[in-house]
Symmetry: C2
Subunit: 153 residues, 2 copies
């Protein structure tokens, strides 16, 4: 086999694998699509709340009253984003805010009775959403996937 033959194979035969860039194989692109699919499944089961809003309620239900800033850290939202989420939950009467007695910079956030009722009602639906999101995988695959995904997050 001549050197020209090797070169030809390099630039033509292997081109599809080695040199071409396939968007649909990139982890970022697939991650974005998987996230989109999950949001869509979420909306199909919980129409009146977004995943970030649900996350805020679920975390407040878990840990109780906390500052807006701390809540943002716990649910992976920056300060500007969490403010919008809390504003909308407050407008719907699901959370209430108050000033921190000692540290006047802090805004405390807590569930209202309506918010507590809502999150207790929605958690079973959230479990279903998790199941449906992972439905294309076997139980073993799902466990592996969650373990690896957590390493990336």
């Amino acid at each position: 086999m001549s050197g020209e033959d090797n070169l030809l194979r390099l630039v033509e035969a292997e081109d599809g694998d080695e040199n071409n860039y396939h968007l649909q194989d990139q982890v970022g692109f697939i991650l974005r699509k998987a996230h989109q699919r999950h949001v869509s499944l979420f909306a199909a089961h919980i129409a009146d709340l977004t995943p970030p809003q649900f996350a805020a309620l679920a975390k407040l239900y878990d840990i109780g009253e906390t500052s807006q800033n701390q809540l943002g850290t716990l649910i992976a939202m920056d300060a500007a984003t969490v403010k919008g989420v809390i504003d909308r939950l407050k407008a719907r009467g699901l959370v209430e805010v108050s000033k921190h007695e000692v540290d006047k910079r802090r805004l405390l956030v807590n569930l209202t009775p309506e918010g507590r009722e809502a999150i207790e009602r929605l958690i079973p639906l959230a479990r279903t959403i998790t199941e449906e999101t992972l439905a294309p995988l076997t139980a073993k695959e799902a466990a592996t996937f969650l373990r690896l995904l957590a390493k990336l997050a």
Copy 2:
């Protein structure tokens, strides 16, 4: 052991595993965080383009001129979103649009020479971003992860 004891174990001892809802273990929440991390890595390497903008350029580079609608399908964006992305790329001179000769509903989109130059320059950086995103995993884990992620997307 009394029935009361079993009830107690059910509601207290096993509560942490069976009945509590842990947001940080839910696939949707971790998926959102992994996606956030990827976007952050992307921005660190490609500051002047967003992942959706890059996706549009990469796909046009791959397949050549196509309709705005078809492009949206290929890069998983609805019509409203893709319009905004194309508008911004057009404003920066990276793509150009024209009317379809036969089907007057369609808006054809194509790379400009500047757009082609940009995507050729950026693809190596995108490969680096993919590597960094997957860096917490071994090569074998990364292959497994991509296979399972693709099933969910």
